[in-house]
């Protein structure tokens, strides 16, 4: 499929629900220039544009996966609005927001989506932090079992446990520690 043609909005939603990477790619390529324009002309850099855009795509992705997305407006407008909102937030965090933003597109109020996203973001960072603190071999065991969906048998072989029970005990202890670390974090 041609990458340069923007996918239709329903194509994108179906594509995300069915995990079609080609659709994701076309979506990404289609709207990145719009967001780049917004960020660069409002005192941001290319890297800021990349971060903001990817966050917006994640917002869209989660919303579609969560089954909450109703196609009440154009996807393009939704993405632009989320990026705009995220960028305003970041500008005010950096104390660089002068109360004025140059707009290039129409936009919608998307506060709820952005707030939901920042909650998820916090969870994500907490998980990341907890995994960092967990240390080896626990981190790899947990990642392999829960994240990469490896079987206990594979894990046993990888770490050289003599029997699956030892590995299970180890995995249990690791999970308990991870929970503890995760909930301890603020």
């Amino acid at each position: 499929m041609n990458n340069s043609v923007p996918p239709t909005d329903s194509e994108v939603i179906l594509g995300i629900l069915n995990n079609q990477e080609s659709v994701l790619k076309r979506l990404y390529l289609a709207y990145f220039p719009m967001v780049l324009q917004l960020i660069i002309n409002n005192s941001g850099t290319q890297d800021d544009a990349k971060d903001i855009y990817q966050e917006a795509i994640i917002v869209l992705y989660n919303k579609v996966k969560g089954g909450e997305f109703e196609l009440s407006s154009k996807l393009k407008t939704f993405i632009y609005s989320v990026c705009r909102r995220l960028w305003l937030k970041r500008l005010s965090q950096m104390n660089r927001y002068g109360g004025d933003i140059r707009d290039f597109e129409q936009h919608l109020p998307v506060e709820e989506d952005v707030d939901l996203h920042s909650d998820r973001d916090i969870q994500f960072e907490k998980m990341e932090g907890a995994l960092q603190l967990l240390g080896e071999p626990c981190k790899t065991i947990i990642e392999d079992f829960y994240i990469n969906n490896r079987s206990m048998q594979e894990i046993c072989e990888k770490f050289g446990y003599t029997n699956a029970d030892n590995a299970k005990t180890q995995k249990y202890k690791c999970l308990q520690r991870l929970k503890k670390l995760f909930f301890q974090q603020k």
């Binding site: 990817q54 795509i57 998980m127 829960y146």
Partner: protein, 369 residues
């Protein structure tokens, strides 16, 4: 059942690894024990979070891979709105420009301050009392032609009737026709000089000596119709004058008749400590320059020379001593008659009215053309 075994069981239950018998047993357990039910929920929630984490990482990897294919730099070039060069310059250098402007303003202010721009404006300065009549020249020219006709009719007497460019006052220092006035009254740019007495008679005069430093000029009447003056009624006081001494002056500040003003010596020094002059509290006007300053005994103690612009009644007079010096400096060969200052004072006992009556014939209007 230990926590470990429970977790194990929950995982197997959720993954559907239990046999149907085991499963039924576990579900019964779950129903009976709310604690186990909440443990299952908690486990689900936490593994859900782990799942989200995994999904997010995967998605980010994918997005980064896609992003890698974009030529961002080219897009940036295309996207950037290029403002005009002056706006761009301001954006890039506004801090430097601001600093430069502040420095410039500061420098200007410092210069203005150090050169006394702020102080001079509001401070009084010395104003010479030469009466400038340049402004009425046009009207005067019209008058001029008429009076010239008149003068031709009268014919017999040589009389200067046209108005002068400047006028001041002067007074006789000897009976032979020497007249002293201020240097600034005549200046050095003039065509001719005339003096006019209280009776309205005009005589041609020449400059004999001028001393810009002390602001003194000596004229000599050089006119055939001039027959000399009677002996001077006043003398010159060389001693320092006293503070508070009553003085008066005669001067042609208005019209053709001499005007008398009186006052007192208010300081033995002049403007800003000028020792050549003394300060006199006397109302004088332009035209008074060069007039005699006379004390109550009829002795001349100075020459009125100027006033301070902002203090009412603060005038200045050149001390007699300095104009003595000027007279001594007059080269002898430029004198056509004897120049000797009178020593006799015949005014001493008289009333002021009598003093003025005798004096006014010796006080002249100096007209400069």
């Amino acid at each position: 059942m230990s926590n470990y075994q429970l977790t194990e069981a929950i995982e197997r239950y959720l993954k559907g690894e239990m046999s149907s018998e085991e499963r039924a047993h576990f579900e019964q357990l779950r129903k009976d024990n709310a604690d186990i039910d909440s443990k299952i929920a908690e486990h689900l929630h936490f593994t859900g979070l782990l799942n989200q984490y995994r999904e997010r990482l995967e998605l980010e990897d994918k997005l980064n891979a896609i992003h890698h294919e974009i030529d961002v730099h080219a897009l940036v070039e295309e996207m950037t709105v290029h403002p005009s060069w002056i706006v761009q310059m301001w954006r890039n250098h506004h801090s430097k420009i601001s600093v430069a402007a502040s420095v410039a303003i500061f420098a200007v202010l410092t210069t203005m301050f150090s050169t006394g721009y702020f102080s001079n404006r509001n401070q009084p300065h010395y104003k010479e009392l030469r009466d400038q009549i340049e402004g009425v020249k046009q009207a005067a020219k019209r008058l001029d032609s008429k009076t010239n006709d008149l003068a031709r009719e009268i014919g017999s007497r040589k009389r200067m009737l046209s108005p002068s460019n400047y006028k001041g006052t002067g007074f006789a220092v000897s009976s032979s026709g020497y007249i002293v006035t201020n240097y600034h009254v005549i200046g050095n740019k003039y065509d001719s000089l005339y003096v006019q007495n209280a009776a309205g008679e005009s005589f041609h005069a020449i400059k004999v000596y001028a001393d810009p430093t002390y602001d003194v000029a000596i004229l000599k009447i050089d006119d055939e119709s001039f027959n000399g003056l009677p002996a001077l009624p006043y003398n010159f006081k060389r001693m320092k004058s006293d503070l508070g001494e009553d003085v008066f002056t005669l001067g042609y500040s208005e019209g053709d008749a001499p005007v008398m003003d009186k006052g007192y010596v208010s300081s033995t020094d002049g403007f800003k400590g000028d020792s050549v002059r003394m300060r006199v509290s006397i109302p004088v006007n332009p035209g008074n320059s060069g007039g005699p300053l006379v004390n109550s005994k009829g002795s001349i103690i100075g020459i009125v020379s100027g006033m301070q612009t902002q203090t009412e009644g603060a005038s200045y007079a050149i001390k007699t001593g300095y104009f003595y010096k000027a007279i001594q400096n007059v080269p002898q060969d430029s004198l056509s008659g004897k120049l000797s200052l009178g020593n006799k004072n015949t005014l001493a006992g008289l009333s002021r009215v009598q003093q003025i009556k005798k004096m006014q014939n010796y006080v002249f209007m100096v007209k400069v053309y």
